[in-house]
Symmetry: C2
Subunit: 341 residues, 2 copies
DNA sequence: CTCAAAACTTTACGCGCGACAAATTATCAA
DNA sequence: TTGATAATTTGTCGCGCGTAAAGTTTTGAG
């Protein structure tokens, strides 16, 4: 079989005995051609292993099928998992997700936005860095590209999808108050609005329960939450500065660090007899089930958040009009009882 | 200021008073134009915020500046970290890394390769899934694109960069034998050659030390190593089937699961008095320092592996010729002593 | 000031494909 | 069989840019 090189759609059309425009139509929507034609094309496809040149395709299409996905920190399994779900969902819908990580750095986020823009994406799903974000740049981006924000509500994009921190934090505060000493609150660094909201939600929930809020304050902009939880935790334990024997951590990564600190300090964590400390988290991080002891926490509804984000984005993309009002969609968290609290 | 729309390079050239070919030259290499010209262009750039259309650029360039990066499982922080380092390195060198995750699935890896191919990348850095990989497809890909494989040595690509499992496993086996009961070996699922090599290395090291190898066998192709370590570990402990009081895990994620199993079974882990079990891992996973107790392990030289992979790829890209011999570059591991063993 | 080299401008072509209009052919119901 | 309709073919244009050739200007050394 003389396998001539089939590089262009022209070549392929010739080789398969179909005209180029029809082949083009097929690639845009396989169901738009007669089934007999489709079969002939697919037979040729199997033989020649041709793929349209994505650059040429996207240069000419009015709208590309690219969807940009930007997450603040890919080494955080929470975002890795979200990214995984989003990718799958987009691919299934016939789109091409392109993943960027800001790696916790302002400039990387800006770069990602610029690169993304030059790809003329049909839409974007963005979890902003938060305080480190350049909102100006992001707003300009969102003016041109349908954008859904998730996780961190920075008032950018045409919609936001995330968790209701006030509901979820209240849930676990109530649980902790009901089953033992009221919790103090181990903050995460104020990198994004979630940090602020969770703190406020904690205060609100404590006051409603008639308790005095106690907050372990944390500064900085670092995303190395585990290290922070460990170091700060060791110090607090050594200096006996923990206000109560129950600690609610602003997120699970902080809790993982604090669990390590407790272990290294010889404190037994849990809600049973002989335990000196209760530790709870927030997010239901993929590895919260493997900590020692397994972490009691509030789950974020990963799949619901992804599902609605993508759905909302597709709506925006197809409608074409910029809605004047920014929609905010919040999902409830769920109590995940394990043995750490 | 009448800000006319500057969309194309033509517009931009007109607006900045420079000819289009010169502008084009500037974007390809800012140093290739006279500095006075460069300043004029950059002044206009600040004013008009123009970016060349990536699709048009890449369609015409003989070689794009895209570099494909494929990892088997992005939710694994080891790969997340590797991806992060690779991305940074490529961007610094003026390339555009595009990240794909196979999510542990054969078909996703094939898709990634196909999508990547249609981006006509200048090169690719691939950590293959391993046994689940379609080697046929991968080899065909590597015929057309300069490819460096890392982490998992599947005999594809023009070079391989990774760790010397025989060196690293021997290191920790010797340490464990020297300081206590010789270790048994808790396998990872045989997803890739590393699994096989580490097992073989363990056997070799034990025999050289005059000890009898004891292997806890694991099957399947799952990438959920922690869950496997936890469940299998609980079973083994409950049924008292652990051959020795020292367990060397094939990687840190297995060890994290086993640590959780030990904790939940009430076994104290460590090398001190009153400890029932020693557990060691392999890789120096980003979170090995936060386990309870902190994990003794062998580190992989992340930065060296990344550095050499990227360097090797750039060599291949610039030389243009396919070297007839496949180079294999292995780095030594280093003993990381913490308190789990 | 002179002159060659370097940098620039002008002009033109082509990349691979989407999109469209007009002409042709295949399909299916009556 | 006929006609209407859907599907396909033919032909043609243009997307935004890289690239090359040929002509023009600028630069800097002597």
């Amino acid at each position: 079989m003389a396998e001539q090189k089939v590089q262009t759609m022209e070549d392929f059309a010739l080789a398969s005995g179909i005209s180029r425009p029809t082949v083009s139509k097929y690639f845009n929507d396989p169901d738009s051609v007669r089934s007999s034609t489709r079969q002939r094309i697919e037979a040729a496809l199997a033989k020649f292993n041709y793929t349209p040149n994505l650059f040429a395709v996207n240069q000419n299409r009015k709208q590309t099928r690219n969807i940009g996905v930007i997450v603040p920190y890919l080494a955080d399994p929470f975002f890795a998992e979200m990214a995984r779900l989003i990718e799958r969902r987009c691919i299934d819908a016939g789109y091409w997700p392109i993943l960027f990580s800001s790696h916790g750095q302002r400039q990387m986020e800006i770069n990602a936005l610029e690169t993304l823009r030059s790809l003329r994406p049909a839409g974007a799903l963005i979890a902003p860095l938060g305080r480190a974000s350049d909102l100006e740049v992001m707003r300009k981006f969102a003016e041109d590209v349908p954008t859904v924000a998730f996780d961190s509500n920075q008032d950018i994009g045409d919609a936001f999808v995330g968790s209701d921190n006030f509901q979820s934090i209240a849930l676990i505060v109530d649980y902790l108050c009901r089953t033992g000493e009221p919790p103090c609150f181990f903050e995460m660094p104020p990198v994004n609005p979630n940090a602020m909201k969770r703190r406020a939600a904690y205060i609100q929930a404590m006051e409603r329960a008639g308790q005095t809020p106690e907050i372990i304050r944390v500064g900085g902009q670092s995303w190395e939450f585990e290290a922070m939880g460990l170091e700060e935790g060791k110090r607090l334990i050594a200096e006996r500065k923990l206000p109560t024997n129950t600690v609610l951590c602003s997120n699970d990564r902080i809790a993982i660090g604090l669990l390590a600190a407790a272990y290294q300090s010889g404190l037994r964590v849990g809600r049973g007899e002989g335990c000196a400390l209760r530790i709870a988290g927030h997010d239901d991080h993929p590895w919260a089930q493997f900590t020692c002891p397994p972490l009691t926490t509030v789950s974020q509804n990963y799949s619901a958040i992804v599902e609605r984000s993508v759905e909302k984005l597709f709506d925006l993309m197809s409608s074409g009009v910029k809605s004047e009002s920014r929609e905010e969609i919040l999902f409830d968290g769920q109590l995940i009882l394990r043995s750490s609290a």
